[in-house]
């Protein structure tokens, strides 16, 4: 074999190693982080970039971190110049307005040198449980960035291999639990050091030219596969809008126009609402990028290795000052979670017109973040806990949605009740799937979860950022919406705390999704419910046996089976075939679900009807393409009015 062939072998080995190193770096963070949010929740990522800061590889538990790493590194490069970053430096950065996402996401990165030249960057990224600011952990009511915590431009945390203790002191002086953060920062630094060590080993073994050349080829190869896949999509312009809850006022619009031409895609967010100062739902541009890439990677080919090559065929535009390209001093705490999810949904809605057989409508949709702060009566010290809930995955072309799983949050985990109760003075009363929360469809949306708990012997303070209360996750191609989100406090509770809905006499307070500093006493109960996944396809076409199975597992109630699926069940729990056929025939005429493209209106899934889009409202060639594709996948749809 010739030299070229030997290269191919080495290249394949290196390609695989480039992807395993970040996973190893992630393991370093997981094992040694202090806060449960990292060690139990996995909200971190490890990655490598080439010598110019282009993303080379990333092992992400949180898919959202994908794009943000590169932007963070490039900020440091443009500030110091590539020559201004020296051997032994470690940089830290979290500023949303210079390539960050929101303040809790810290990017720490270290250059990897070979003979005086930077050949790579080793990057650790992790969500910090508390970064100071007006509220502990999550913030639901900030009105400008300055309330959200400590803002760090790209600066050097280490110089010449030595920690810059003044910077450590400054950061730690601004947060509520400095020992916890110090442990987490050290874990991230360990991960960076580890990545540097492994790249250096590869250089020693294979030679610097081979390693650097392989980095370039890995990125080029991803670009090649991206372009080949995009080329298979029909050229055209595809538009969609989705909405964020408006906190009493008008919903906030996110509009995406996708233009597919040959092997590239332009995504333009012009027409989206302006940034707002009443609540922290603005997203900086890196979030618009993250959400768009995330949605597209799942649709184009999830097998393609994620790196800078993914970004090249895709151009993303958003007018400055709009909701997805927020400018200083907009509050952005919820941009990562709530708004990013909506960016993903909006792109899915547009792509539903291109690849109707691949899309999903919602994915553990939205943000369900909850921070709890208080004084621990056992220790006398302040505690700050950050946890998140997850919604249901939508129905898919030939299967139901997963319960309580998220694309945006990727592989992050909830914090076990037992860990919560050991570490924090709280009692969890319930954690359960919510019956009838999955949007009905030929393929049902995944169920959401309901969490209830209360503080022990002290008054705690709750801050949340939850979405999909007013605008529910949409059902698609005749599918119904997933059940909307809810957040409540039951006041003046009497024992036992478990099933609040059945107790008489206590006061129920319904809250909007974003609240800050709501107080809760031991005799109260906090109730949080995420939203269900939207349905896919016409529920009257769902196999009645599957509906029966859902009834037996209490995923679907008898009442909802009849109302939403047209399925009638006998008293000995069998499908009543005749009654079902008759009821379905009536419902089909009455509701014409096969004519619907998107449904965000059907009660009780929508708290108040929001909107429906009919197939006939789409441009004719697009609706015809959808109908044809879905029919081939065994769905009944129609573009005729």
């Amino acid at each position: 074999m010739t030299d070229k062939k030997i290269d191919l072998l080495t290249f394949e080995v290196l390609r695989n190693l480039f992807y395993s190193i970040p996973r190893e770096m992630g393991a370093v963070q997981q094992r040694s982080a202090y806060s449960p949010h990292l060690s139990e929740g996995y909200d971190y990522a490890g990655g490598l970039a080439d010598g110019t800061g282009d993303l080379l590889s990333q092992a992400e538990h949180v898919t959202l971190h994908l794009m943000a790493m590169e932007a963070g590194v490039k900020t440091g490069i443009s500030k110091y110049g590539i020559d201004g970053i020296k051997y032994g430096d470690i940089l830290i950065h979290n500023d949303p307005f210079t390539g960050g996402s929101h303040l809790p996401d810290f990017n720490i990165y270290k250059p990897v040198f070979h003979q005086g030249r930077i050949i790579a960057f080793s990057i650790a990224r992790a969500h910090q449980a508390d970064v100071g600011g007006m509220r502990s952990g999550y913030i639901g009511d900030s009105t400008e960035i300055y309330q959200e915590g400590v803002r760090i431009p790209a600066i050097k945390l280490y110089e010449d291999g030595k920690p810059n203790n003044d910077i450590f002191d400054l950061i730690l002086a601004n947060v509520r639990v400095p020992t916890q953060m110090k442990g987490d920062l050290l874990a991230m630094i360990s991960a960076c050091n580890y990545g540097e060590k492994r790249i250096t080993e590869l250089v020693n073994r294979y030679g610097v030219n081979t390693v650097v050349e392989s980095m370039k080829r890995v990125i080029d190869y991803t670009e090649l596969r991206m372009r080949k896949a995009i080329q298979c999509f029909p050229d055209g312009i595809y538009e969609f809008e989705d909405y964020l809850d408006g906190d009493g006022g008008e919903p906030i619009k996110i509009k995406a126009k996708l233009q597919i031409t040959g092997d590239s895609i332009v995504v333009d967010f012009a027409g989206s609402s302006n940034q707002v100062f009443t609540m922290p739902v603005n997203a900086v541009i890196s979030i618009a990028h993250a959400g768009t890439y995330l949605a597209l990677m799942g649709l184009i080919d999830p097998d393609i290795q994620r790196n800078h090559g993914c970004f090249r065929p895709i151009t993303i535009k958003a007018p400055e000052g709009c909701i997805v390209n927020a400018q200083l001093p907009a509050p952005v705490a919820g941009g990562n979670t709530e708004t990013c999810s909506r960016v993903i949904n909006t792109v899915f809605g547009a792509m539903a017109q291109v690849v109707p057989d691949r899309i999903i409508s919602s994915e553990g949709d939205g943000a369900f973040n909850c921070s709890i702060k208080g004084n621990n009566p056992d220790t006398g010290k302040i505690y700050a806990n950050y946890s998140s809930f997850t919604g249901g995955w939508s129905g898919r072309v030939s299967k139901d949605g997963l319960h309580v799983k998220s694309l945006r949050a990727g592989d992050t985990s909830n914090i076990p009740t037992e860990v919560t109760e050991v570490r924090y003075p709280w009692l969890v009363d319930k954690l359960q799937l919510v019956t009838d929360s999955g949007g009905p469809g030929k393929w049902r949306g995944g169920l959401s979860e309901e969490w209830r708990g209360h503080p022990l012997s002290h008054i705690a303070e709750i801050t949340t950022n939850m979405s999909r209360l007013d605008v529910p996750p949409w059902g698609v191609f005749g599918g119904m919406p997933g059940l909307h989100t809810a957040i409540r406090v039951y006041r003046g509770y009497k024992e036992p705390h478990v099933d609040g809905d059945n107790l008489q006499g206590n006061k129920v307070e319904n809250y909007p999704g974003r609240i800050g500093g709501v107080q809760i006493a031991p005799e109260d109960q906090l109730f949080a419910r995420s939203c269900g996944g939207g349905g896919y396809g016409n529920p009257y076409e769902r196999d009645p046996q599957l509906v029966l199975e859902d009834i037996l597992d209490e995923y679907v109630s008898l009442e909802a089976a009849k109302r939403d699926y047209g399925v009638v069940v006998t008293s000995d729990m069998k499908v009543n075939i005749n009654a079902t056929e008759k009821l379905r025939a009536e419902l089909k005429v009455k509701n014409k679900r096969e004519l619907l493209f998107v449904d965000q209106a059907t009660p009780p899934y929508a708290a108040t009807p929001f909107r429906q889009i009919r197939m006939a409202e789409l441009p004719k060639p697009i609706s015809q393409h959808i109908v044809k594709t879905l029919k081939e996948s065994g769905h009944v749809v129609s573009d005729e009015e």
Binding site: M1, L9, E12, V13, R15, N16, L17, S20, I21, V28, R31, S32, A33, Y34, S39, T179, Q180, G183, L186, I189, S190, Y194, Y221, K228, A229, L294, L299, D301, P302, D303, R358, G364, T390, K399, L402, H403, V404, K405, S406, L407, D411, T412, N414, P416, T417, E418, E421, V422, L427, K430, L431, Q432, L433, E449, R452, P496, V498, L552, D553, E554
Partner: protein, 677 residues
């Protein structure tokens, strides 16, 4: 004592027999269910069962039931408000890099469907106090409901039962009264660990698999009765130790990693004999590649594991699946690059087996490259078709970019698979803080010795050891394993390192372990109680486990432990925090019943450095060389002291060892091939 050992594998089943001090091996293709497999294996072994004292089995029953989702109908009784913990899991997707973005991802079904997950009123708090008494009537009601539904097995899991098992024990009694004969697993007796999802999943996994074992044992005993077998049975557990039927019956999920654990037990024994302290085991067979570290003479253990995307939280060997083995499918991706796995050809096997497989696999690559001799596959007992493998790679070539020959495609597939395994092994070493250059690699399984000498140098390992009978090494492990029970004690009071408290807790555990061994009739001299302690910084959640010396803990031991902890923490994680308090989180105890083990047979000696004779040669392809005419040695004729210069292929009845160009190999007195890479 005469022993018959059977290690069931998905592709092949290994047999070892120890009779009158003589060890013999055999290997058969796995066909049908496990009962058939074991009966076939017994027949194949040719032993007279009336003379056998003990049959030791490494079983796949639990593993197959879980990965194929074919377990028993099981119910769950749990704390009110928490029945969906099993299905919500940790809300994560257990996503590999592919699935993370895969919108069509599926997850395995929970062990217990929602309709059979029942809640009862009770509550224990995080300090172990009962704050809501158990409602016994509700337990009776749900037991009756589950009985009516026809479940075969019930798991009982209450919050914080690892701190206070009272409610679970009481519920167990009530269920026994209401539903006699049903198999019951309580989480506090099986897996007293913190984290309710992991504990529920583990307990439910036991409920899901244990009834299968009862049925299997009934049939097996009946069958062997007719052959007048009067001896006992032992089963290999995931911790590398054997256990008798009664224990397997109760805690069957402990046998989940049975056959791989047997291989690690075999390696542990071999490494002791050879005087090796640090070993990486590498077992690569038809459907999986597994690796486990033996560090400073101790096999790595864990109690946080996953199997087929389900959490299993039991003390077990820390065996990492680093690849899927010879059955991995080789394919070409949309950019034209050759890829290996993660799909494997479970049903049909490699193309060269001629069993209906159409897609080329890793085993086919080994065949194309000339590593495997088609004429002597499985000792010549199985026909394989090299031409079919070559043809499959030819088809692959049409879609690949920049690749000119089938051999080149195969060699790339070979190395891509190696690179994947290297990454997974590196990750494992990192999690433990090991320097791989401190380790030797012991390779076994049908494919292990083919790949080992190629991956070792890329891991920074300089010595590969291929034991005799590498293709049946798991069965060998069954002959040399001890009985072992592991206990874990999650401390209810997270204290500093209080001497009195720790000694009291250990004493309790030692009592438990000692009496279990005693009940099994293990004499006092052969009982071994090994303590270790899991320590962590007060604020962290993950621990560092350190071995403890025998005898009582003293203040000076505590001091040493704390120093060792900081040092180890820095080694594992790159930092230490001297100012932070260190706490004892979990206490561990292994109760070991030593068995008398057979000596490893020695081979005849020759002059050191003598080159063995061979008349056989064939063209073999290696990474970077193209085809090379390579000497082929028959391992049966190798002598201690023999020296072999690579490239070379050494054929043994049930496995093949490849020595790559430039490498040197030597044979030691146990017949092990030591490759310097």
């Amino acid at each position: 004592m005469d022993v018959l050992a059977i290690s069931a594998g998905r592709t092949f089943t290994e047999i070892a027999s120890l009779q009158d001090g003589q060890i013999r091996f055999a290997k058969v293709k796995t066909l049908g269910g496990e009962l058939e497999t074991v009966l076939t294996a017994i027949k194949k072994s040719g032993v007279d069962l009336t003379k056998v004292d003990q049959i030791s089995i490494a079983t796949l029953l639990a593993a197959k039931a879980i990965s194929e989702e074919r377990g028993a109908l099981s119910g769950l009784i749990t704390t009110r408000g928490f029945r969906d913990v099993l299905e919500i899991r940790r809300s994560h997707r257990r996503a590999d890099p592919y699935n993370l973005y895969n919108l069509q991802q599926e997850l395995p079904k929970p062990f217990v469907p929602r309709r059979w997950r029942k809640e009862v009123t009770e509550r224990v708090d995080s300090k172990g106090n009962i704050i809501e008494p158990l409602n016994e009537n509700e337990v009776r009601e749900v037991a009756q409901q589950l009985k009516k539904e026809g479940v075969e097995s019930i798991a009982i899991v209450f919050l914080f039962s690892f701190l206070n098992p009272e409610h679970e024990a009481r519920a167990e009694d009530i269920v026994r009264e209401e539903f006699p004969g049903v198999h019951i697993t309580t989480s506090s007796s099986l897996a007293p660990i913190i984290r309710e999802y992991e504990r529920t999943s583990t307990t439910a996994a036991n409920a899901y698999t244990a009834p299968l074992f009862s049925k299997y044992m009934t049939k097996l005993s009946k069958n062997l009765d007719t052959s007048s077998y009067r001896g006992g049975f032992n089963f290999m557990q995931s911790n590398g130790g054997l256990c008798p039927i009664e224990v397997a019956q109760d805690k069957f999920i402990n046998t989940l990693l049975s056959s791989t654990a047997a291989g690690v037990a075999g390696t542990h024994y071999l490494s002791k004999t050879m005087g090796e302290q640090n070993i990486l085991t590498f077992d690569m067979g038809g459907t999986s590649s597994e690796a486990c570290f033996i560090h400073e003479g101790r096999s790595d253990a864990t109690h946080e594991s996953n199997f087929a995307e389900q959490a299993i939280g039991l003390p077990m060997l820390d065996i990492r699946t680093v690849g899927q083995g010879g059955a991995l499918i080789v394919w070409v991706d949309s950019g034209g690059a050759i890829r290996v796995g993660p799909r494997s050809t479970d049903a049909f096997g490699p193309v060269c087996y001629n069993m209906g497989g159409q897609e080329p696999t890793l085993t086919d690559a080994d065949m194309v490259l000339g590593y495997i001799n088609p004429k002597s596959f499985l000792g010549g007992e199985m026909e394989v078709d090299k031409e079919a493998a070559v043809h499959a790679y030819k088809t692959l070539l049409k879609r690949a970019v920049d690749i000119d020959s089938v051999e080149e495609a195969a060699v790339i597939a070979f190395d891509v698979a190696n690179a994947t395994m290297i990454g997974a092994i590196n990750e494992g070493a990192m999690l433990r803080g090991y320097e791989l250059s401190d380790f030797s690699l012991v390779a076994f399984g049908g494919c292990g010795p083919i790949h080992a000498s190629r991956i070792a140098p890329l891991l920074g390992i300089s010595k590969v050891i291929v034991p005799m009978n590498a293709g049946t090494f798991n069965a060998f492990g069954l002959l040399v394993a001890d009985t072992q029970y592991d206990y874990i004690n999650m401390l209810s009071r997270v204290k500093g390192m209080d001497v009195q408290y720790l000694n009291a807790e250990y004493e309790e555990m030692e009592k438990k372990g000692g009496s279990t061994l005693e009940n099994e009739g293990i004499s006092k001299d052969n009982r071994l109680l090994k303590k270790s302690i899991g320590m962590r910084y007060a604020l962290e959640t993950h621990e560092v486990i350190l071995p403890l010396p025998d005898g009582n803990i003293t203040t000076s031991i505590i001091k040493e432990l704390e120093e060792a902890f900081h040092e180890r923490h820095e080694r594992y994680y790159g930092h230490k925090m001297l100012e932070q308090p260190v706490v004892a989180a979990n206490l561990y105890l292994s109760a070991i019943g030593l068995i008398k083990k057979p000596m490893i047979p020695q081979v005849q000696s020759s002059v050191t450095g003598s080159i063995p004779v061979t008349k056989v040669e064939r063209k073999v392809y290696f990474p970077g060389t193209g085809g090379v005419v390579t000497p082929i040695y028959d391992r049966a004729y190798l002598l201690c002291g023999n020296y072999i210069q690579g490239p070379a292929v050494i054929e043994e009845k049930y496995s093949t060892t490849v020595v790559f160009p430039g490498q040197k190999a030597q044979v030691d007195r146990y017949g092990s091939i030591i490759v310097e890479v």
